[in-house]
Symmetry: C2
């Protein structure tokens, strides 16, 4: 720490992302990336944009991409905000909707970037304990002073909360913004986007990193009432006029429009997920009913820490958090069928020891 | 304004970037973009990265690009920070080095994003009047309470401040961070990067948007003492783990390494700039001695507002600010020789009326 740092720099407790190891033949099941490539139409659209025009700034309003997102989601363009991944949108949301002095609420087991944002922007927070089975107690999120944020499905638990429960939370927080972080929603049943038309305090955030296989391109979006979107635009335009580059704009637009490819890949991953859950259960794992592209699992006799370390030695990366009450769980991203077979075989060999 | 906005969203006064008009055959001299395409090696490097790997997150530490920037600048990788354009780095710098309650100093005529950052992050500021000839009075920046920031060369004035003056400002602000925003430095004589080795309170920020013709790719970088770089990394990792995507990382690295192309294009632009200044002067314009890829000019009998409006009708865009004392100036980005000829011909026809 340096005497030249601001109080903000001093109080920050930065997020540590999952390992990005550059090694051939590694099986990477640790950062919930898509095991399949992006749509060929995405590749074409980007290739067409790689050229002289890179010398020119991108569109600061991103109208083309916003229109495609709006169309897919059956909302109007004024209800759509685009950012550099959903993380940037989360940061802008903490700036735009949460207030120093007014505690916000989020689950105690959840995306570990939330307390990082709260720290840096000086937003007090209370964490709401999940039930022992990791489900959310809806009523505990009623009547917040400063707002509510949670992922749905939740991460790393993989559990989905129904729209009725979300609507109850919205109704009991009418003067606060409720942010539903839907990074994994395309692997679940139903998005809360439809609720944005009835509830002006709901902001839904999604990402192109998971279901649209574009983690490397950095595009996320938010949907909500025009007033909420305007506040996000004000934050962006007070920070960085063009956070999404020309290539990302072109690729994301094509990804949004290739619905057929998106649906095929998503249902393939869901099929592999269900098969993986079955196999892990047969091997004695407790696996939560996942509505995401990962599973959250524990085993009575094989410790998560040992399992994580063993898999790592075999060049299979999974995510291990190591803090109670989830210190006996591993989070395993769903890979291709072949990758999951290798993973399962490795588990069998550990259990046989 | 909505009751759901935070005080930060309410107090924000967003930046308005130069117009991005999507129209064929427009002569775009309004946002200081490079008139020449990026290096062919940049195009190759990006094309090689457009593929399946876009499904994977980029490197959060950006080591490859940082190494190339470090090598070119003769510093070590620990002295380099990379961000989504220099605007994002400026935002992180306001967060990391400036403090609510401690006024910072910047020139009264300067990059108009500075007061925007100050507003949103609640940093008080004092503006230091430029002299009547738009030069900076160095002593007026001594002994700041909260820090100093200025572009060098300054924008929109295009004037360069020598390293001796910068060193004096550093010596008289030893307990504060001094940020030198070198967006246009490659069109001037000498960067302040060399001073970062002697002065641990100096942060130099540069961009790939101007001299490296990559405005569409969103990459900027900062160079400074390791402690300052660490503070910026803490801000990034409290905001967005991966603000620079895979394609931008690949393209920026190639741009940094193709020194020959960069030097050729830069000196071409400087030649056109000098020719443009001569022609404008011959037409009765007062043109400041530019150390950038734009010129700042006024005319005694042709008002800047009228000129701007007339050029716009002819599909030639220049930047007009319209606020005293620069309300009779236009800022003209340097285009190709052909573009500048068309621009100059148009001016001649206005003057002949």
């Amino acid at each position: 720490m340096s005497k030249l740092w601001s109080s903000m720099a001093k109080r920050a407790e930065p997020y540590i992302p999952g390992e990005q190891i550059n090694k051939e033949n590694i099986i990477k099941l640790n950062t919930n990336e898509n095991p399949y490539p992006p749509s060929p139409k995405v590749i074409e659209a980007i290739a067409a944009e790689v050229g002289d025009q890179l010398r020119l700034y991108p569109s600061p309003t991103m109208d083309g991409l916003r229109a495609s997102i709006a169309e897919y989601n059956n909302v109007s363009q004024q209800n759509v905000f685009v950012g550099n991944g959903s993380d940037e949108i989360l940061a802008f949301s903490f700036m735009a909707f949460f207030e120093p002095g007014k505690p916000i609420l989020f689950p105690d087991i959840t995306y570990s970037f939330y307390p990082v944002y709260a720290k840096v922007f000086d937003i007090p927070y209370e964490t709401i304990p999940l039930r022992e089975n990791f489900t959310m107690e809806t009523e505990a999120f009623f009547g917040s002073q400063g707002g509510v944020i949670f992922p749905n499905p939740n991460a790393p638990t993989s559990l989905y909360l129904g729209l009725q429960d979300i609507e109850a939370i919205l109704q009991h927080n009418q003067d606060q913004v409720v942010i539903v972080d839907e990074a994994y929603i395309d692997f679940a049943t139903e998005s809360a986007v439809s609720l944005t038309k009835k509830h002006d305090n709901l902001l839904v955030i999604q990402t192109m990193s998971k279901s649209r296989a574009l983690a490397g391109l950095r595009v996320g979006f938010a949907i909500g009432n025009e007033q909420l979107i305007e506040a996000l635009i004000r934050m962006k335009d007070s920070f960085n006029s063009y956070p999404v580059d020309r290539l990302a704009l072109a690729g994301a637009k094509a990804a949004m429009e290739d619905v057929t490819y998106f649906q095929e890949m998503t249902s393939k991953i869901i099929t592999t997920r269900e098969r993986t859950i079955k196999s892990l259960s047969a091997l004695g794992f407790h696996v939560l009913p996942s509505a995401t592209n990962f599973v959250f699992a524990s085993h009575d006799t094989l410790s998560a820490k040992v399992l994580y370390g063993h898999l790592r030695q075999q060049d299979i990366l999974v995510r291990y958090f190591g803090t109670p009450p989830i210190d006996n769980y591993v989070r395993i991203s769903i890979g291709t069928d072949e990758e999951m077979d290798e993973f399962l075989n490795e588990i069998k060999s550990v259990l046989a020891k």
